[in-house]
């Protein structure tokens, strides 16, 4: 085919425009995923939020100089004015799979600064520095040591959320972002919230293409005045990849079992939350440890709660599936024996609150199991025939976060959806043991 000069000219213009379009799109796409400096600031509490925290962040270039500067008064990010610094920062390159690379998330480095002997109930202002990059100043508030009341957020399953595209790993996760914005509003209107206890399954995997966006979205929980919502971490069945260990390091100072992701968090004088790990051996050492903890705390604390990922009483998945039966068989007899006050479960992607259950049957003195995960993840439907979600229990299908307050008089919880509507409420008085 022979082209005329005019046709050649137009062809050249079309080819040029196409090339320019492709290059432009590539440049825009590249710019979106190119990061520099430090990002993903977060604070993690483990056993004692009143004195110990881990400040973590992501940096994007290799450097030996990773430092946390902190103080009990604001220093407006002027590094020389901060009275405290932590130079012993656990840092390393975040593992990237081939899919992470093809998804286009930038290479990153994890950084964890563990700080101890903090003052209880105190504001801690901090900045982090990696190489030449310095973050803005943020702050967090340590937990109280003597308070007889505690308030915290709890929710699980934030691994997806958004209409299109839905495939795991891609952003934006609009539902998750909306839930995070809701948590920020709750945090701002309830400044006494200590932390978000996360029921796990952060991303579809704990590979970087998922955790990167989870950390991006988590920034939405930070208040307008830069207060960070601390996290208490548990481990779920989608958190198996090495990225979980790299990015959710729980410190050296803590007890040995903490790095197996089961530990007890002290909340003031009157409450403990025992975080368990369904993603390891749940009998054996963990079971022995659970019994020891309940022996220690059941009679000395007014409120004893347990938090773990895989439910004993699944409200949507197969009740008889081994995955859940093993939790029921191994742990619930112990919960029953020590009469824990509330069990927090995730995994199913529904909203549920069971009737009080003791020895596998409804019993007014039994344990209520709540949750199943709704921090943005697409919601399934509960099985309405299940005996344990009949009134006074409930089941539903909406994203939610729980606001739980523990006082000397009562345990009160509200499940709140992304629009701020209270979709479930429950309260109970302390047990007379």
């Amino acid at each position: 085919m022979i082209l005329s000069n005019r046709q050649k000219k137009y062809s050249l213009i079309i080819v040029f425009l196409l090339a320019a379009g492709v290059s432009g799109a590539w440049a825009i796409y590249g710019a979106e995923i190119k990061d520099s400096g430090v990002k993903h600031l977060r604070v993690v509490f483990t056993e004692d939020p009143s004195s110990h925290a881990i400040v973590s962040w992501t940096s994007f270039s290799r450097t030996q100089e990773n430092i946390l500067y902190f103080d009990t008064v604001s220093r407006d990010a002027e590094l020389s004015r901060y009275n405290f610094e932590q130079k012993e920062v656990r840092s390393g390159k975040i593992t990237m799979t081939s899919m992470d690379k093809s998804e286009g998330v930038p290479e990153g480095f994890y950084n964890h600064a563990e700080i101890n002997k903090l003052e209880a109930g105190k504001k801690y202002y901090f900045v982090v520095k990696s190489g030449d990059s310095v973050s803005k100043e943020h702050y967090f508030i340590t937990g109280s040591r003597n308070s007889t009341s505690s308030k915290f957020l709890w929710g699980g399953d934030s691994r997806l959320g958004g209409e299109k595209p839905r495939y795991a790993g891609r952003t934006p996760h609009t539902d998750r972002q909306n839930m995070n914005k809701r948590m920020r509003i709750l945090f701002e209107s309830n400044p006494d919230i200590i932390a978000l206890f996360h029921g796990a399954d952060y991303g579809s995997t704990a590979n970087w293409r998922h955790l990167y966006w989870w950390f991006e979205d988590h920034q939405l929980t930070t208040t307008k005045d830069n207060r960070i919502l601390p996290l208490v971490i548990s481990k779920g069945n989608h958190d198996e990849a090495i990225g979980f260990l790299e990015n959710f390091w729980l410190g050296d100072i803590s007890s040995e079992n903490v790095n197996s992701y089961y530990y007890t968090t002290l909340l003031g004088e009157d409450a403990v939350i025992i975080t368990l790990n369904t993603e390891t051996i749940i009998g054996g050492k963990q079971k022995e440890w659970l019994i020891d903890e309940l022996e220690k705390y059941r009679h000395s604390k007014r409120w004893v709660l347990v938090n773990y990922h895989r439910p004993a009483y699944p409200a949507t998945k197969d009740f008889y599936d081994f995955t859940f039966a093993r939790v029921r068989q191994t742990w619930t007899p112990i919960f029953d024996k020590y009469l824990v006050d509330l069990a927090l479960e995730s995994d199913g992607h529904v909203l549920k609150r069971t009737v009080p259950i003791l020895e596998g049957k409804e019993n007014k003195d039994g344990i209520v199991y709540i949750g199943e995960g709704g921090l943005g993840v697409p919601q399934r439907k509960v099985d309405p025939t299940l005996w344990f979600i009949q009134p006074p229990g409930m089941g539903g299908s909406t994203n939610h976060v729980h606001l739980i307050s523990l006082t000397t008089e009562e345990l009160k919880l509200q499940a709140i959806d992304e629009n701020g509507k209270v979709v479930d409420e429950y309260s109970r008085q302390p047990r007379k043991l």
């Binding site: 839905r166 495939y167 989608h238 051996i281 749940i282 009998g283 054996g284 197969d318 039966a325 093993r326």
Partner: protein, 259 residues
């Protein structure tokens, strides 16, 4: 292809496919990885996902019944294709212990049907036997590896079954046992690969049976679905054992087991 007279291992294989399909039917009906993938990854409404699962479960059951008919073989590879797809989805979707190796650990589930089709015809019989051998090698190798890496479920099976029989063991002891078991499993895989024998197939069959028993001892009748799904793990070494014994009786000079 010349069709041979059906001999006992073939019928056992067909019955076993049916047993596996019953497990699959129960699994799909009560919610499986297929429903999760449809709902979570592709946004299919949850009710439709469940309906699709149930429909596929019914199709599998029909294929299972067809597999029982001695003169009809074409339903069998369809079961194999289905089992392969489910293994792939399990691996891709993740969310379970060692699901990253599901294509390998589930291999008997799809190699049983494929191998059985080859085994049906005299001129492809050797291919069938080799596929079965590959299945035994893979399943023992990967479970050995999982055992060496302290698979939590395996540890719980040991802890619970020992407790059941009144000899409680500590977690450290259970993990030590798993190291030994894992080593033996990998040795079995190597022997099946390089030096198959009646003894090694008998051991492999016996060991799979033991793993079924400890599942029941650990978590009771609820494990029936898990055991039905793993039925092909037992069938492959058993069929290889029976063929080897039959061949031995015939005293053929040329063994089909020569590599």
């Amino acid at each position: 292809m010349n069709k041979t007279t059906l001999f006992e291992p073939l019928m056992f294989g067909r019955i076993s496919i049916f047993i596996y399909v019953v497990g699959l039917y129960l699994s799909l009906n009560s919610g499986s990885v297929l429903g999760s993938v449809l709902f979570m990854d592709y946004g299919v409404p949850v009710d439709q996902s469940k309906q699709i699962e149930k429909t596929i479960a019914a199709i599998f059951l029909i294929l299972g019944f067809i597999s029982l008919m001695p003169k009809i073989w074409y339903g069998i590879p369809l079961v194999g294709i289905g089992a392969f797809i489910l293994a792939y989805l399990t691996q891709d979707f993740g969310g379970g212990f060692f699901t990253k190796w599901s294509l390998i650990s589930h291999s008997p589930r799809y190699l049983l049907p494929f191998g059985l089709v080859f085994l049906t015809f005299e001129n492809t019989k050797k291919v069938g036997i080799q596929l079965f051998r590959v299945g035994v090698v893979l399943v023992f190798f990967i479970h050995g590896l999982e055992s060496l890496q302290s698979h939590p479920y395996f540890a719980e099976y040991i802890l619970n079954s020992f407790e059941y029989v009144g000899i409680p063991v500590h977690e450290d002891q259970a993990l030590l046992m798993m190291k030994i078991i894992g080593g033996i499993d990998i040795l079995v895989a190597a022997l099946v690969l390089f030096s198959p024998s009646v003894f090694i197939y008998a051991w492999a069959s016996f060991w799979v049976l033991i793993t079924f028993v400890i599942r029941f001892l650990s978590f009771g009748w609820l494990m029936h679905k898990e055991v039905l799904l793993r039925w092909p793990n037992l069938v492959l070494p058993l069929i290889l054992l029976s063929i080897m014994l039959i061949e031995g009786k015939k005293k053929n000079n040329e063994s089909v087991f020569q590599t």
